[in-house]
Amino acid sequence: MDILRQLDRAPILNTSITLLVPLALLAALTALLGDLLLERIVTAMFIHLIVVTGLQMFMGNSGIVSFAHIGFMGIGAYATVLFSLDPEVKAMTLRHLYEFLKPVHLPFWAALLFGTGIGTVVAAIISYPLMRLHDAAAVITSFAVLVVLHDVMVHWTEVTNGPRTLFGVERETFLWNSALCAMIGLVFATWFRESKVGLQLRASRDDRMAAQAVGINMLAVRWLGFVLMCGYAAFAGGLFAHFITSFQPRQFYLAEVFVVLAMLVIGGPGSVSGAVVGTVLVTALREGLRVGEAQLNIMQIFGGQVVGLTEFLLAISMIAILIFRPAGLMRGRELRLPLGRTTAAPRRSR
Amino acid sequence: MLRLEDVHAQYGAIVALHGVSIDVREGELVALIGANGAGKSTLLSTIAGVLRPHQGRIEFRGESLVGLVPERIVRRGLAMVPENREIFPALTVEENLRLGAYIRKDRDEFQADLEHMFALFPILQERFTQPAGTLSGGEQQQLAIARALMSHPDLLMLDEPSLGLAPKIVEQVFELIQHLHEDGMTILLVEQNVSLSLEIADRAYVLNMGAVQAAGTPAELRENVDLASVYLGGVG
């Protein structure tokens, strides 16, 4: 069939469909089942998927590990909320807020856009000079950036309510809009991977010298990838804020970094499909383990509260994958619909 | 002493050796000549255990070397002087030599070996306590060879010893290699410098694109093979 042959020749479209259809089905099924808990789990999963996809775009293509993006997720969350909170609620929850910010009130999507914009701009400014650092120093510095961002969130009480919970956020993020945003994000990421910038980024990972010799501007390419990743994270942060309706700075710190990293690594950082597979799998794993942990606590088997079992087992799984299947479950390949090769269509290399 | 049979090896994504078979008998000086990229260094790296061949046999004194780590291979009696010398510039000449003698356990032997090295390479005695990075290119080459000899090898492998050295120094280095050979050392020499290699070698192999193109004594090769084109990268 003509359509099938077209799909065979258009890997981006092929992958997008292959990824989106199951996800859409999942969302539809969840909506149909009507179970509130499941809906929450799946919504949270889609929000995570946005962050993980962003991480894939930078880390998967450039090979550089980043820790800072979660900090920008936090910036996105706090910045969005600053604009979206009803002024009366704002006065209660952010008591020491600057005067000029008190009356500002935007509808949800506008606030989200502004919040994402602020996060992205800050990311762009902070990260540009850091692109000159070579790989190990870059990773360490991104770690330091995460710590700084967290420190700012904890201490800038005027804007964030400090280490305490910021409450009173309207629930605006639901299954349908988180799923939609995640899917749009996926399509873009799939395109990005094969785009000029994406290919340049991947070239610079495999052989830096050769890439520079061919005229690839390493600094610019990496910077773009990093900013995109932080943009995704900031957007997800805004969505997250309006999903969970109350949050603290510690939720944008190392624990979250680990979960997101686990999702990408287990799925395989080399492809967007890896991001999807990893996110779905790890979400399922965590929820399953959480139930198990709760049961153990109820049954008092260990004579008290069992804390940290989920993360402990997740960490072990991650180490196992890294040792036995280092490119992740997807091995860096994209999912494609296996459409039979017609004799006329030449085989497209990956 | 050393035998390679049908060795296939890869360097990254590039298949560098396609079924190479060579032979080095005790006391011989065998040269491997060929252009850049012909696979000569890959071959030595494979023998030394840095690369693992995915096919073929490598035997030293009848025992297989395949799969052994580099630390073990030097203990079997093969020492390598790599391309670019790879001396440790921040360490002194003395420290470089001490490392070379790591697998030898005897203190007195170390002293005797040092005396022997000083006789062969007087400049090393002069610069004994200086950081190796302050030595000239030719001196570093001498240090690299001395360091390899400290392990009392049965077979010495030299990877492009003439690389980056002035012609006069190159001649000195080759005189040295010839001298070692006359003293009884078995030597496998990889070189781009065809004429000098053939002057001192007992036998030679011509490598091209990862395979042995020709083999024989220097006289045979000079007669049958277009050596100029070997140097440029292809055998007529």
Partner: protein
């Protein structure tokens, strides 16, 4: 008169904190120099010492013995993490090992939460850590002076090891060209195992003095020491052992300066200030302060 005292106190503070930072950084850069591994699990060695001391505290052992055992635990942990988690990945990409070390770090922290407690636990300390001396009319905790002394001793010992022993020479060579070192017959496992053991020893020693300041251990206690080690190493230029040591003192100087001279409203942001300054330093000197070799 009091100005001299203030300066002296400041100097001792910087030197004692800097000594701990320097040792911490050294333990990290040893591993990095040889393996190019950014070891995220390094901070957890501090945590492990804390829990070891906590678990040993009901025993009648004198503190010195407990301390030594705790340091031994640190060395063992360092060695075991290499053996179990890092060795299988030795030929793999540096990114993979880095991520693995992060996973190991998370695993260890959560293991502490699971098997000991998520809450803070008190760490037993020796009597001598409570002693204070008067210098130039200023009160100085004796343990700070001890920290300086012990650090200098350890650094001297380490320098001696590197210069005079064949193992030390091998370590220096391995940090320069690892494969060439192996081609001379020096076993990779020996070099790497030694490097990890040394990092365990250094972190363990730092831990003893670290708990002298904080008094209790939590699962997250390793984060700040890890950051310190990281940042000191980067300031010093990632390849240089000397650079890491200098970086540690520099970081302590920056931190104490901000702590003492920031206006009260900004004091709580000192972490931000310290690291922002560091990032600035890296802007102008991405290779670090010390030209590495």
């Amino acid at each position: 008169m009091s100005n001299v005292g203030a300066i002296l106190q400041f100097t001792i503070d910087v030197l004692s904190l800097g000594s701990l930072y320097a040792l911490m950084a050294l333990g990290l850069v040893i591993i990095y120099g040889i393996l190019r591994l950014v070891n995220f699990a390094y901070g957890e060695l501090i945590m492990v010492v804390g829990y070891a001391l906590f678990l040993l505290s009901p025993t009648p052992l004198p503190w010195l013995v407990m301390g030594l055992l705790a340091v031994l635990v640190s060395i063992m942990t360092a060695y075991l993490t290499e053996r179990i988690a890092f060795r299988p990945l030795r030929e793999r990409s540096l990114t993979a090992v880095l991520i693995t070390s992060f996973a190991v770090s998370t695993m260890l922290q959560n293991a502490a939460m699971l098997f000991v407690s998520p809450r803070a636990r008190v760490v037993p300390l020796p009597e001598i850590f409570t002693v204070q001396v008067i210098i130039a009319e200023r009160i100085v905790p004796l343990r700070n002076l001890i920290a300086i002394g012990v650090s200098i001793a350890l650094l001297a010992l380490f320098a001696l090891l590197l210069k005079r022993t064949i193992l030390g020479i091998a370590l220096r060579a391995a940090a320069d060209k690892f494969m060439m070192t192996r081609m001379l017959g020096i076993p990779a496992n020996l070099v790497i195992g030694t490097a990890f053991a040394i990092s365990g020893l250094l972190a363990g020693t730092v831990a003893l003095f670290w708990f002298g300041r904080t008094g209790s251990v939590t699962p997250e206690i390793g984060l700040w020491p890890l950051l310190v080690a990281f940042v000191s190493t980067v300031i010093g230029g990632m390849r240089s052992l000397l650079g890491a040591v200098v970086g540690g003192y520099v970081l302590a100087l920056i931190q104490m300066t901000f702590s003492n001279f920031l206006p009260p409203e900004l004091l709580e942001f000192r972490v931000t200030f310290v690291f922002t300054l560091v990032i600035f330093i890296l802007l102008f000197r991405p290779e670090g302060l010390i030209r590495g070799r």
